[in-house]
C-alpha cells in the first residue's frame, strides 16, 4: 500500500480563515508541509500561531465561522481539503487520527471507556461487540495501561490525567491509522509522565509505521522526537527543515529568537534572551511581514510580506533577511537534546 514516492500527507498553501463579526481572522494563512510514512513532523509555534487550526483543517473539523478557503490537503495523493462530510468521516479515526491537548476534556465524562473505544472501531468496521471489546483491551495494554479489562469498565473520571491521555492515544491507535495528529498531548501532564508518553508514542510509530504530526510550543520536545520541524508564526510557516538543521542553524529570526529563549543547562546563570513584544492579533493583520515589529533584523523590504525562499538546500524560510548560515544559534543558545 505505501508507496515510497507518495507522501502520507501533503499540505499545500493551506488557508483556513474565520469569518467573525469583528472581521476575518486568518488563522492559517499559506501553510505547506509534507509528511512521509513513518515520519514525525514537529509543528512548532506560540499559542495563536495557527498550529491547532492546521491540525483541525487536516481532519476537516474546523467549525463555523471558520473554513478552509484555499489550498490542498493531499492524503496519499487524494485532495481532501474540501471532501464531502461522509468521506471525511470515513477518514477520521480510521486513516487519520487525532489526540487532543487536554486529556481531562477529551473523554466523554458520562460514557464508559469501553463504550468510547468500541464505538470508534464500529464506526469504521462491521465487527461484533465482543471482538471490538477484545481489540480495545489489546490497545489499552499496548499503551501500557495495567488491568485493562477492569479499566475498560471504568468511567473517565476514575483515571488520572496521564492515564486518560494513554486512553486517548489507545483510541487513536485502534484502527491503525496512517497518520496521527497530536495536538500538544503532553503539555497538560507532569514532566515524568510526559517523558513516558513521548517515549511510547515514538516506539509505537516506529513499530507501526504511522506518520505523526506533533503540534507543540515546546522546542525541547520536538528536538528529541521529530524528524522534521515546521515553525509557524501568525498563521504562516516561517521555517521548515530537518530538526538538526533548523535547530543548529536557524535561518528565520523568529526561530533564532525562539531557540534563544529556551533555558539550557549550558548557559546556567546567564540571562535568557527573549523575543520582545507580543504575538500580533490575527484580526486585520497589517500588511507586510507579521514579525517585523518584533524582529531584530527588520529592514525596508519587510513592509512587503516575504515569500518562501530556500537560502540553504532543504530549508524553506519566509524572510527577506534570513540569518546567515555561519551565525549559528549555538553562540547564544544550545537546545538540549
Amino acid at each position: 500500500m505505501i508507496h515510497a514516492d507518495v507522501p502520507t500527507l501533503e499540505v499545500r498553501n493551506l488557508k483556513t480563515h474565520f469569518f467573525t463579526r469583528a472581521g476575518v481572522v486568518k488563522a492559517v494563512d499559506d501553510v505547506s508541509f509534507t509528511v512521509q510514512p513513518g515520519q514525525i513532523l514537529g509543528l512548532v509555534g506560540e499559542s495563536g500561531s495557527g498550529k491547532t487550526v492546521t491540525g483541525f483543517s487536516i481532519l476537516g473539523l474546523v467549525d463555523p465561522p471558520g473554513r478552509v478557503v484555499d489550498g490542498e490537503i493531499r492524503y496519499k495523493g487524494e485532495n481532501i481539503a474540501n471532501a464531502g462530510e461522509e468521506r471525511m468521516r470515513r477518514l477520521r479515526g480510521n486513516n487519520i487520527a487525532m489526540i487532543f491537548q487536554d486529556p481531562m476534556m477529551t473523554l466523554n465524562p458520562v460514557l464508559r471507556v469501553d463504550t468510547q473505544m468500541i464505538e470508534a472501531i464500529q464506526a469504521h468496521e462491521q465487527v461484533g461487540r465482543e471482538e471490538a471489546w477484545e481489540r480495545s483491551r489489546a490497545a489499552l495494554q499496548q499503551v501500557g495501561i495495567p488491568a485493562a479489562e477492569e479499566r475498560l469498565r471504568s468511567y473517565p473520571h476514575q483515571f488520572s490525567g496521564g492515564m486518560r491521555q494513554r486512553v486517548a492515544i489507545a483510541i487513536a491507535l485502534l484502527n491503525k491509522p496512517d497518520l496521527i495528529v497530536a495536538d500538544e498531548p503532553t503539555t497538560a501532564l507532569d514532566v515524568t509522565i510526559q517523558g513516558q508518553i513521548l517515549y511510547e508514542v515514538q516506539k509505537l510509530c516506529e513499530e507501526t509505521g504511522t506518520a505523526l504530526i506533533w503540534i507543540t510550543h515546546d522546542l525541547s520536545v520536538v528536538a528529541g522526537l521529530a524528524d522534521d520541524i515546521c515553525v509557524m508564526y501568525a498563521g504562516r510557516v516561517v521555517e521548515h527543515g530537518t530538526v538538526d538543521n533548523v535547530l543548529d542553524h536557524p535561518s528565520h529570526p523568529y526561530t533564532h529568537g525562539l531557540i534563544g529563549s529556551v533555558p539550557s543547562r549550558n548557559r546556567r546563570g546567564q540571562p535568557l534572551s527573549q523575543i520582545p513584544g507580543m504575538t500580533p492579533s490575527l484580526l486585520n493583520l497589517p500588511p507586510g511581514c507579521p514579525f517585523k515589529a518584533r524582529c531584530p533584523r527588520v529592514g525596508d523590504a519587510c513592509d512587503e510580506a516575504p515569500e518562501i525562499s530556500q537560502p540553504v538546500a532543504g530549508r524553506d524560510v519566509r524572510c527577506h533577511y534570513p540569518v546567515p548560515a555561519g551565525e549559528t544559534a549555538g553562540e547564544t543558545a544550545e537546545v538540549p537534546a
Binding site: 481532519l59 473539523l61 462530510e85 468521516r89 470515513r90 477518514l91 477520521r92 479515526g93 480510521n94 487520527a97 487525532m98 487532543f100 491537548q101 487536554d102 476534556m105 477529551t106 473523554l107 466523554n108 465524562p109 458520562v110 460514557l111 464508559r112 468510547q116 464505538e119 470508534a120 464506526a123 469504521h124 468511567y155 473520571h157 476514575q158 486517548a168 483510541i171
Partner: protein
C-alpha cells in the same frame, strides 16, 4: 446506594413532618367552616353541636396532635361537605390528575428535547429562531386562556374534540383506573394534556438548547467526531446523554409543578382530578380536603426529589462515585 436512599428517606420524613405543621397551622386560619355548614336560621345549641362534632372547639395544639396521630394511620379527616374521608376523595381523583400530568410531561419531552437540541446545534438557523421565539410565546401564554381558546377552536368551531371530562369508559390496569385504553379517552385527554404541557414544553426546549450549546463546544465532542463517528451517534449518544442530566433533574422537580398547575387546566376542561377538587374545596372552605390535598402534594414532592436524586446518580457516573465514598 442503600445507605444513600435510607439517609434520604429519613430527610424526607422530616420534611413531611415540618410541612404538615405548616400546612395545618396555615389552613387552621382558613375562615370559619361553621358559617357554611350550619343553616342561617340554626340556633346557638345546634351550632355548638356541629363545632363539637368536628372538634373545632379544641385548642390548636390538641387539634394538631390529633391530626398528626390520625394522619399516621392514614386518616386525614372527613370532608365537611361530602361526609367522606378526605384522603379517599383525593385518592379517588389522583389517578385522573396523574394521567393528565404524565401525558403532559410526555408531550413536553417528546417534542421539547428534539426541538431544543436542534436549536442548540444550529443557533443561527431561521428554524431555530422560530423555535426559540415559540418558546417565549409558550412562557407568555396564560394557560387558562389557551385552554379556552383550544375549546373554542377544536370543540366549538371545528367540533373535533370534546371539551370536558375524561370520557366515560374507564378501565382498570393493575388496579389503576385509566381512560387511555379507548380512542374516546385519548380524544378527551389530548386538549387538556397539550394545554398543561405548553409551559413545560418551552422549558424543555430552553434547557435542551442551553445544554446542547454548552456541550457541543466541549473537547470530547470534537474528539468523538475525530474518531469518525457519524453525526447521528455524536448527537444521540454523546450530546444527548450529557444534556439529559439537567433535563431529567429539572423535569423531575417540575412534575410536581405540573400536578399543581393542573388546578388551572382541570378547571378549564372540567377534568375530574384533584386540582378541581382543591378549587371547589377552597370555595366551600372544606378544610380537611385542603389539608389532605396539601399533604399529598408535599409527599409527592418529597418522593419526586428522592427519585430525581437517584436518577441523577444513575445518569452521571461522577455523582455515583462521590456517593460511594461518602
Amino acid at each position: 446506594m442503600t445507605v444513600f436512599i435510607i439517609r434520604r428517606l429519613m430527610q424526607a420524613a422530616l420534611v413531611v413532618l415540618v410541612m404538615s405543621f405548616l400546612v395545618f397551622s396555615g389552613v387552621f386560619l382558613v375562615g370559619d367552616p361553621v358559617e357554611i355548614l350550619v343553616a342561617d336560621d340554626a340556633d346557638q345549641a345546634e351550632r355548638e353541636m356541629v363545632i363539637k362534632s368536628l372538634g373545632l372547639d379544641q385548642p390548636f395544639h390538641i387539634q394538631y396532635m390529633r391530626f398528626l396521630t390520625r394522619a399516621a394511620q392514614g386518616d386525614l379527616g372527613e370532608s365537611f361537605v361530602f361526609n367522606e374521608p378526605a384522603l379517599l376523595l383525593i385518592l379517588e381523583r389522583l389517578p385522573a390528575t396523574m394521567e393528565l400530568a404524565v401525558a403532559a410531561l410526555m408531550i413536553a419531552v417528546v417534542f421539547g428535547i428534539p426541538l431544543g437540541v436542534w436549536a442548540g446545534l444550529k443557533p443561527d438557523a431561521i428554524s431555530s429562531k422560530v423555535i426559540m421565539s415559540g418558546s417565549i410565546l409558550g412562557f407568555s401564554l396564560p394557560t387558562f386562556w389557551v385552554g379556552i381558546m383550544m375549546i373554542l377552536l377544536f370543540a366549538v368551531i371545528l367540533g373535533l374534540l370534546p371539551s370536558t371530562g375524561r370520557g366515560d369508559e374507564i378501565h382498570y390496569v393493575l388496579g389503576f383506573p385509566t381512560s387511555l385504553l379507548t380512542l374516546d379517552g385519548w380524544s378527551h385527554i389530548l386538549l387538556p394534556a397539550t394545554n398543561l404541557a405548553l409551559f413545560k414544553l418551552s422549558l424543555v426546549i430552553r434547557l435542551a438548547r442551553a445544554g446542547t450549546r454548552e456541550v457541543v463546544h466541549q473537547d470530547y465532542i470534537k474528539f468523538a467526531r475525530a474518531k469518525g463517528l457519524t453525526d447521528r451517534r455524536v448527537i444521540l449518544v454523546h450530546v444527548m446523554k450529557n444534556i439529559l442530566i439537567p433535563v431529567v433533574t429539572v423535569l423531575g422537580l417540575e412534575f410536581g409543578g405540573l400536578v399543581a398547575f393542573s388546578v388551572v387546566t382541570e378547571t378549564v376542561f372540567a377534568w375530574p382530578g384533584i386540582g378541581k377538587l382543591l378549587i371547589d374545596s377552597i370555595g366551600l372552605l372544606d378544610r380537611p380536603v385542603i389539608v389532605a390535598y396539601l399533604m399529598i402534594i408535599v409527599l409527592l414532592f418529597v418522593i419526586l426529589n428522592l427519585l430525581v436524586d437517584i436518577a441523577y446518580s444513575l445518569l452521571d457516573p461522577r455523582v455515583r462515585l462521590q456517593d460511594v465514598k461518602a
